[in-house]
Symmetry: C2
Subunit: 358 residues, 2 copies
Amino acid sequence: MPTIRVEAGRPYSVHIGTDVFDLFNTEYHELLGSADRIIVIADEKVASLHLDRLLPYLESYKVDVFKVPAGEQAKSIDVFMDCHSFLLAEGCSRKTLILAFGGGATGDLSGFVASTFMRGIPYIQVPTTILAHDSAVGGKTAINHALGKNMIGTFYQPETVLYNVQLLKTLPDHEWRSGMAEVIKHAFISNGQWLDELLAVESFKDLTEQQLIAHLEKGIAVKAAIVEEDEFENGMRKFLNFGHTLAHALEAHLGYGKITHGEAVVLGMAYALHLSGNDKFAVFLEWGFRHGYPFEKIVEISFEDLLPYMKKDKKSSNGNLNFVMLHQIAQPQMEKIEEQFAAKSYEELRLKIGEMTK
Amino acid sequence: MPTIRVEAGRPYSVHIGTDVFDLFNTEYHELLGSADRIIVIADEKVASLHLDRLLPYLESYKVDVFKVPAGEQAKSIDVFMDCHSFLLAEGCSRKTLILAFGGGATGDLSGFVASTFMRGIPYIQVPTTILAHDSAVGGKTAINHALGKNMIGTFYQPETVLYNVQLLKTLPDHEWRSGMAEVIKHAFISNGQWLDELLAVESFKDLTEQQLIAHLEKGIAVKAAIVEEDEFENGMRKFLNFGHTLAHALEAHLGYGKITHGEAVVLGMAYALHLSGNDKFAVFLEWGFRHGYPFEKIVEISFEDLLPYMKKDKKSSNGNLNFVMLHQIAQPQMEKIEEQFAAKSYEELRLKIGEMTK
């Protein structure tokens, strides 16, 4: 099965395919067997859909399941403490292993719990969304604060990532949109030919299992290569934030959960492409409209509403607006943008989208 | 001035003396100058006593102070979140530097905040207690959970530790007792000659500044050497928990703040020495009585009251009782102890103490 090695901190492997759960009893049998117990932290929605597919593979181990709210709601300080309370009440120790079963939010929360329980216990990511191909690799863990998303967290690498694409079949449309956003982002910043392939996709649901695996493998490889170079986000890792300055502002302004992360990223990439004067801007906008990304949000929300959030972005400093710009495909660079220029470009984007939605 | 290099993770230096604050404007000028701001997280009691001694050295930087409750009360999830809220509301970024100003609790909290704010920002430890010679070195950060002390935290090294012994003069007696407990623990597990020097001390207050600096330097050197060997506590770092199995149980049973950590550790060391049949047991008990350690707690509290806590200790596994034993000075070893034997030894200790307090 496709396997990508990530050489960040303690090296680990990301396995993608339809039979990855077999590895619980082969390659990772020793790891799981040496744990005094295994706690599955599961997104409650994912648990009701897919727990039956996971648990049979863990029958030879001592397993308990702790369900957390679906999606972004899990990334609160209260749920974080609930997890710790559960682990302590159950008598878990430093030899306990956590298994994160859900999308990016579940992974972010579970990783943060694992990195802080008794100062760190091992964990495995079992992502169940397309979006999580991104968040499950790279060791970023986090919960949200009322004053900002992902503001509290750690860098902490999993023992392995087991990515079972069979679980992706039940994903609703907005989750496909959200996940494919990060896939195409990885193409934008790394590979023009692959980008063209993705831009040509008529409908995500038409992708075969093998095509999907191939796209995910490419996306993870891009992410892994960047994370290896820059585990703690001091340099090129920032390029992964292509489209994210506006995206984070949109998510914060709308309130978490009102727009999916990837959908916001597509809007942000359209903006960043326009800011950069990139000639893929028009075809990308068409691609976005074709797949149903919610561009109307750009029309509804003013630049002034988003500005304060963009100034607070983790990648900003001294109140400047910092963007990952993409003048040429596969050549991202960080640039400081004048507020006035950013505002003008946003208005042009609004006009353009307004015309297309008429 | 005495300086100890700690080679754990990112290497850093611990400076001890009366003029360490000068380093803010010499050796660490570049570090502080490159921060967009400096947030002093200060124990409120320490702030009222000593902030005037610290702030003049930071005049050339942009500094804000956030006061937290004195002592162990600071190590709660609420105070942790208050710190994050303050940092976010103040517009802090990844370029912000935290300065922990207080005892071990303030350092533990501040380190945990620094390790988790935007996934990690730099911090400096400025310990103000003798006990903190121990906790400020080694990169352990933590807050408490209702179900256990230090259960939530990270391993995260400071940029430097600046230990100004002038601030120690105002410490109350119980803080001297608490701090010297870890000093003598470091002697027990490393150096018989130094141990005899400490056991001969009639009164802590009689120590000259130079003697105190020398003892602290030795203690920090022992701690640093062990931490370098075993940053993540998989092996010999556990020896630093000599006396701590019982101590943590005493603290938990009595409720945090009812006994200082070091005082509990002295009681725990007396127990561990007795368990180990160590021939320094009697002279150590005399030393403890001479300095006013609260041995009456051992008489008041039964073994059964402490047992559940000892079974939950982070160093325990599978419900066994694990102790750092010390059959010979400077030769600690982990041993699994039968519950019955542990109970019998505890009763003997109670009798012995009962006789001495008559």
